[in-house]
């Protein structure tokens, strides 16, 4: 089957074809539908490091297709893939640091200050955040997760998620507008 033959098929039908026949065309269609969003998501989580993001996307698809027969379609495939992608990112951080993220660190990690002549946009400001801040900010403010969902997903208390978000927003505001350092908004 060519790509045109798969283009109108729902995700579930493509997944069935992949599981039943190992249909390459079905997989490629799924890949092309969902990879752009998955890639942008993990790229942002990883602070814009494309090489790492590509590795994570590949590993995400490997894990997803291996467990596709257990996916119950209670959420969208895209959401499920994002969850797997997040787990793969965590595995990568753990592998790099030799331990999981320290969510309860009492001291705020240093945030690299931009050069005086560097104009920082929001994307760059997010990328400059420490991993924990960045992850919570992305999940909450961009992906729409609640603090309970973040807590469940990351294995932390929802209160920890809230405090991380508060710190993350403060850091972003300070990075975007250095004059506002110390001025806090109300965080959700």
């Amino acid at each position: 089957m060519g790509r045109e033959a798969h283009s109108g098929v729902p995700d579930r039908g493509l997944a069935a074809a992949l599981l039943a026949r190992g249909d390459e065309g079905a997989f490629r269609e799924l890949y092309r539908r969902h990879t752009p969003r998955l890639f942008q998501f993990v790229l942002r989580l990883l602070g814009g490091v494309e090489v790492d993001a590509e590795d994570v996307v590949q590993e995400t698809w490997l894990r997803a297709t291996e467990h596709l027969d257990r996916f119950r379609w209670e959420s969208s495939l895209s959401t499920w893939l994002s969850g797997i992608g997040l787990n793969v990112c965590r595995d990568l951080w753990r592998k790099r640091n030799g331990r999981d993220l320290d969510w309860n660190a009492s001291v705020e990690p240093p945030i690299p200050a931009p050069r005086s002549d560097e104009r920082i946009d929001l994307e760059r400001a997010i990328a400059l955040l420490p991993v924990g801040y960045r992850t919570v900010l992305i999940l909450h403010d961009l992906e729409g997760y609640t603090h309970d969902e973040i807590g469940e997903r990351m294995g932390i208390a929802s209160g920890t998620s809230k405090s991380q978000l508060s710190c993350a927003r403060r850091a972003v505001r300070a990075t975007l507008n250095p004059e506002s350092r110390g001025m806090d908004g109300a965080d959700g």
Binding site: Y31, F39, G185, G188
Partner: protein
């Protein structure tokens, strides 16, 4: 202080977050790499080499390719044979043509030399004239002999040889001895 939304973001902050891109396509290589990895794990199975629906098309394609190959081969061979024949013809005809041209040019020279001999015969030493005539006859006889070798049934050349032999027989051994003293260059 600007108003915050229910999540604690100012409107401009919310808009800035909403404006961030949600999709980005990675390199094309990643798709190929992922497909290869899935094939290695047996999750994607390689496409069948031949499906029954494509068989007639494949057969027709092979037949067309074969016909093209055979016709090309035939044309190539034909051109090759012709070129070879031409080459052989060049090899064999060129020396013959050169030899024929040489016979013609030396024959003209031979006739011109005889004409000069005839012109000088009236005032020349009779002994020298006789010797010159013997040389001319010997050349004439030798030429006839070569023509017979070239064409054994040639009646003119045969008659010349017969007459020359008969004439040599009647003139005796002295004349024959003179003839054999002629040296060909």
């Amino acid at each position: 202080m600007e108003p915050m939304d229910e999540n604690g973001l100012r409107r401009d902050e919310r808009e800035a977050f909403d404006a961030l891109p949600r999709e980005r396509m990675p390199s094309r290589m990643l798709e190929q790499r992922t497909v290869r990895a899935l094939k290695r794990r047996g999750i994607i199975r390689s496409r069948p080499v031949l499906s029954s629906a494509r068989l007639p098309w494949l057969a027709a394609g092979i037949a067309a390719a074969l016909a093209l190959f055979v016709s090309g081969l035939a044309v190539g061979q034909s051109m090759g044979v012709r070129q070879t024949a031409d080459a052989f013809a060049d090899v064999y005809t060129q020396p013959t043509a050169r030899a024929a041209a040489r016979v013609q040019s030396t024959g003209s020279e031979h006739r011109a030399a005889l004409a000069a001999l005839v012109a000088a015969a009236g005032s020349a030493d009779p002994q020298e004239v006789r010797q010159a005539r013997e040389v001319a006859l010997a050349a004439f006889w030798a030429a006839a002999n070569e023509i017979v070798r070239l064409a054994p049934d040639d009646p003119v050349a045969l008659r010349i040889l017969q007459e020359a032999e008969r004439s040599a027989g009647t003139r005796g051994a002295g004349a024959a001895q003179d003839t054999t003293n002629v040296v060909w260059f």
